[in-house]
Symmetry: C2
Subunit: 328 residues, 2 copies
């Protein structure tokens, strides 16, 4: 019997593929199966050792899996899947519809509390690591301002939202920060900036044959939470152009807090990521937080949790002694 923490992966899109690779890069975690809505026999897994199982049979794995990594999208998958799986398993997800997190939390918390599971929601880098740094910087430097910038990069959540619009065959969305806004922040001017004032959103969309492009463009541009408040650009391209020019998923960004202490001493706190692959990094964060879900569940810390509730030691493969000796 292996002492490794046993994981399942639900969904085999970009995030699920990244999760399978990220699990393989660890020494303390192992993949039991990938759960899919597709025909598992037909699913081509990158990893020859991995097993695909139909999602309807996941319930049979309650004794074999410590934590389920939920790798679906936030628009429609996770609002159904997280409560469903949290009734049977510890879970980790990357629910990223910021405006709806409080209700998502409440829904998941009720299920997980009732069924004695630990469900870590909204991990990844934003929400996730960026959220963590916003809160820590605010706690340490009360006299200051937080700024989060994203991109230039391809946004998983927003691309997912684009692809779910009626008549859209495929598509991607890039988030592009405003250079002018970045300059203002770095000057220490503490400007008042809205999220939509700091970024533009640019979509490249492949429409279904005979689809109403004007309707697609309108539905994207008016989509609440995702696009309605932004300067959004929608470009229609061919499947070939999408494949050729938009198949990579770079991303990044930074959280910066500019604050004062004492009389007028300026203190700049900054966290940044520069990512060749957004989904692989996001899934690497999910995989690290799977350790936390397993350990917190073993300590009867049940219910929905966020990155704010997780002591950093819980996500590390190393012992507390090793962390103090080698990393503190």
């Amino acid at each position: 019997m292996s002492n490794k923490i046993k994981l399942g992966v639900v969904g085999y899109g970009n995030l699920g593929k990244g999760a399978v690779k990220a699990i393989k890069a660890t020494e303390d975690l192992e993949l039991v199966a990938v759960f899919t809505r597709r025909d598992p026999e037909a699913l081509e897994l990158d990893d020859p050792d991995a097993k695909a199982v139909h999602i309807d049979n996941a319930g049979n794995y309650q004794n074999d899996i410590d934590v389920m990594l939920l790798c679906g999208g936030s628009a429609t998958d996770l609002p159904e899947q997280t409560p469903y799986f949290a009734s049977m398993f510890n879970t980790v997800d990357s629910y990223d519809t910021h405006a709806k997190i409080p209700e998502f939390y409440q829904m998941v918390n009720e299920v997980a509390t009732k069924h004695h599971t630990t469900a870590i929601i909204s991990t990844g880098w934003d929400p996730g690591l960026f959220s963590l740094n916003r809160v820590m910087a605010d706690a340490i430097l009360p006299n200051g301002e937080n700024y989060s910038f994203w991109g230039k990069g391809l946004s998983q959540g927003h691309s997912d939202a684009v692809r779910r619009v009626n008549g859209v065959k495929n598509g991607v969305q890039y988030t592009i920060p405003s250079e002018e806004a970045i300059e203002q922040v770095r000057s220490g001017a503490n400007p008042e900036l809205t999220k939509s004032g700091k970024h533009r959103r640019v979509c490249y969309v492949v429409a279904e044959k005979d689809a109403d492009k004007a309707a697609i463009e309108n539905e994207i541009k008016t989509m609440p939470n995702y696009f309605a408040d932004y300067d959004t650009e929608v470009n229609f391209i061919s499947e070939e152009e999408l494949e050729r020019d938009h198949s990579k998923a770079p991303h990044g960004g930074f959280v910066i807090r500019s604050g004062n202490t004492g009389e007028a001493n300026k203190q700049i706190y900054e966290f940044s990521l520069t990512l060749d692959s957004n989904p692989e990094f996001t899934s690497s964060v999910l995989v690290a937080y799977a350790r936390a879900a397993h350990r917190m569940s073993q300590e009867n810390q049940f219910g929905a949790k966020t990155v704010y509730d997780v002591a950093p030691a819980y996500i590390s493969p190393r012992s507390a002694e090793a962390l103090r000796r080698d990393y503190l």
Copy 2:
């Protein structure tokens, strides 16, 4: 009766002064008293509302203080003060002799566990926030390397160590990163660098009248943990020069992890600080972690703790609901 968390500050050097200012910048914390080894009547506190008490009378304040912030130096103060105060109070300190942290932890843990107090050790930014980022980056990107760079900046712990050398009247120490090493890391080359290969240490020392300067220089350069492994430079200057040229305490640095995911996707994780005042920032971190010491103690989480054991929500003045709604 105020609902604020009640704090004491032990020591009124740079760190203690910063702590008094940092407490005043919050809305949920209040200062009860500053405890000093000096004559409290003679201590000039920046804050007219603050009270100074002799350190020997601290024991009388067990019912009035929720957490003691220990603002002494790591070389000789904290190894005595942390166990002493942890037998009576929840504490937060910034013990920063990295090589001795395991034994310091064990000593404090025994006392705090026995007396049912919560003692958060080695907070600040390094150890502290940098440590946190080293561990999180390692947990998320197992295939990679961590690099920590410090400076250019004045190091509190090392200046303190210099000032405790026999014959030294006053002095400061600057840590200066190697430009060459930084270039290597930023290129993504993942070079093998030792801590001492990445930085130089430059000391400016005011000697006591008739002191043996050669002996001072030798004692500094051979001091274990602090200087022995480094390219260390010792300059003797006058008290006037020290006051004129070295009275500010800027610092900063960064933790960077360069790692790969999947086949060969490069992911760069970076945390950086640019500080006008190192002691004011360090004490702002201590003050934030005082919230955690108080809350963890209320939940019977006794013993010595490090930043790795503290869920981020514990350091924030905001409610869990507000964090999820406004920061996630």
